[in-house]
């Protein structure tokens, strides 16, 4: 891609932070290429977690003792840190910690959708949506009488923007669109979609599960009304997701989960709600996970999100080129040379994706095989499943070579 050597990641150095990458299966060192499912967790984040339990663990918000004060300050500041990571100027008030991206989608679907949608409303999705948004809006639409419409995906794996302009109308109440497709690798023009949505007084929800971990994302530049992503896909722990929402929207929204911490005043008859973001964080929150996610943001920013993006793009392009050279590999999504997220989904003509993944595992090459939670897209592509290799900061070209070699072994076995 023509970037000078100095701009590349020091992958050797980075790999030292990930002891799991030293694991061997039957004498073969693992080649972990399942990063779109979950990324590995660097030592500084693991240590933050262990330190939290060894030195600071306490419940937050209302404790007046020292431990609770320390935990509270760390947990509340973690919201600000995450806000900064995605350019949310409203700081903690615009950042809600959830369990995962999926819960963030459901939060808006329940707290906003269930109350605001009606039979006259339309929700516009894309054919490449992840089940997290597709199933959620589909079911909320069923409950409210609203209609779901899907922006077409072209042969080349990009959105048909003419179709987008056609189906986003004044009837559209919400546009929910994946930023980077976890199956096709397509980088969608979310900023343009936000403009179209806003022209029709619709909101836009951006699924950032595959973008926030892998490239610089600025919610205000996109002008997203909502954005969701997961800690476990960005060097953070499992059990935490983020919902960003514009402050005035979150303020207007009814709460979604009820209980402690999210209330101001409770009587036997009724209750009033706490301020943002706590209004949406009922019960004891994901304290340790929030603090660890802030540490993951530091870790990624230290490396530099632009460099991470370039590194992944280089690996994806390299993998694409290698696989395209073989005559029997069907590759999904934008062709080599086009902008792409750091992942490649494909099928070997003679070998079912599940068999391929099982066989690759023999060479300790870990990829994913399945529908990647985009069943309707796979139906459209005419395959029940695909194999997917996805890259992160610690992957190398040599690992892509190992993948290609292992695919060749599978080809031989099934020949």
């Amino acid at each position: 891609m023509g970037h000078s050597e100095s701009e590349l990641l020091d992958v050797e150095r980075i790999r030292e932070d990930f002891p799991i990458l030293q694991r061997e299966f039957d004498g073969e060192q693992v080649v972990y290429l399942d990063n779109a499912a979950t990324t590995q967790t660097p030592e500084p984040v693991v240590e933050t977690i262990a330190d939290y339990y060894r030195t600071t663990n306490a419940n937050v918000h209302r404790g007046l003792h020292q431990l609770s004060q320390e935990a509270s300050v760390a947990y509340e500041n973690a919201h600000d840190r995450v806000a900064e990571f995605i350019g949310a100027s409203g700081e903690r008030e615009e950042i809600i910690f959830t369990k995962n991206t999926t819960e963030s989608e459901n939060l808006v679907a329940y707290a906003w959708g269930l109350n605001e949608l009606g039979p006259e409303d339309e929700v516009v999705l894309t054919e490449m949506e992840h089940h997290a948004s597709l199933v959620t809006w589909q079911q909320i639409a069923k409950k409210t009488g609203a209609t779901c419409r899907y922006i077409r995906v072209d042969e080349d794996g990009t959105l048909d923007m003419d179709h987008a302009r056609e189906i986003i109308t004044d009837d559209t109440a919400m546009v929910s669109v994946v930023h980077v497709s976890n199956t096709l690798g397509t980088v969608n023009p979310v900023s343009e979609l936000a403009d179209i949505a806003h022209d029709h007084d619709s909101y836009i929800f951006v699924d950032g599960a595959q973008s926030v971990p892998n490239r610089p994302v600025d919610v205000e530049e996109i002008d997203a009304d909502f954005l969701a992503f997961s800690g476990h896909k960005m060097a953070g722990p499992t059990g935490i997701g983020v919902l960003y929402g514009k402050k005035h929207l979150l303020e207007e929204m009814e709460p979604y989960l009820y209980g402690g911490e999210m209330i101001k005043k409770v009587t036997f008859e009724d209750a009033t709600w706490n301020d943002l973001p706590w209004k949406f964080e009922a019960g004891t929150p994901v304290i340790c996970q929030g603090i660890a996610l802030a540490e993951a943001c530091d870790y990624l920013d230290d490396i530099g999100m632009e460099r991470i993006q370039r590194h992944e793009e280089q690996l994806a392009q390299y993998a694409l080129e290698q696989l395209q050279d073989e005559g029997d590999v069907d590759i999904y999504g934008p062709a080599a040379g086009t902008e792409r997220g750091g992942l490649v989904a494909f099928n070997l003509e003679s070998v079912h994706a599940h068999d391929l993944s099982s066989i690759l595992n023999d060479s300790a090459v870990a990829i994913r095989a399945g529908d990647h939670c985009t069943q309707p897209l796979h139906d459209k592509m005419g395959v029940p499943a695909s194999a997917r290799a996805s890259f992160y900061i610690y992957n190398t070209k040599e690992e892509v070579d190992k993948l290609v070699d292992a695919i060749d072994d599978a080809r031989q076995l099934f020949a």
Binding site: H354, S358, I359, N361, L413, F414
Partner: protein, 142 residues
């Protein structure tokens, strides 16, 4: 290393996958049943002919689409079933299938391996009025 990988694809399985036995349809089967593995997209259709007493399986044919494990398992099962008592089919479990395949099946692939067995069992149960379903789908806990 653990189970899975090419251990799981020993010659016999690959052979049955590449050259499935009893592949096709039977004109007048005693019963026919279809099942799928929705997560994987594996599909199996089994045609079964019972003898007069309806206690013994005479002949089986299958058609299907999917991974090597599911298709090889169906092919091997179609051979095993010929001549087997219906009662014995009903008594088969996951272990019988792994014995038949002759390899360890990784936990995530068990669904693929047992699909054909489930289809045959459900087909028989429906025929004898013991069950009322349209299609078999493998469950996570099998």
């Amino acid at each position: 290393m653990g189970i899975g990988g090419s251990d799981m694809y020993r010659q016999q399985i690959l052979d049955h996958y590449k050259n499935p036995r009893n592949y096709g349809e039977i004109e007048d089967p005693t019963f026919t049943h279809i099942g799928e593995n929705p997560m994987c997209g594996d599909e199996i259709r089994m045609d079964v002919v019972l003898d007069e007493s309806e206690e013994t399986i005479e002949r089986v044919a299958f058609q299907g689409d999917g991974c090597a494990i599911s298709q090889a398992s169906a092919s091997m099962l179609s051979q095993e079933l010929a001549g087997m008592a219906v009662e014995d089919l009903q008594a088969m479990d996951r272990d019988d299938i792994t014995d038949m395949l002759g390899v360890d099946i990784s936990p995530m692939r068990v669904k693929c391996a047992v699909l054909a067995e489930k289809v045959a069992q459900d087909g028989a149960e429906i025929y004898f009025g013991e069950k009322d379903i349209d299609r078999t789908t493998t469950e996570d806990d099998d």
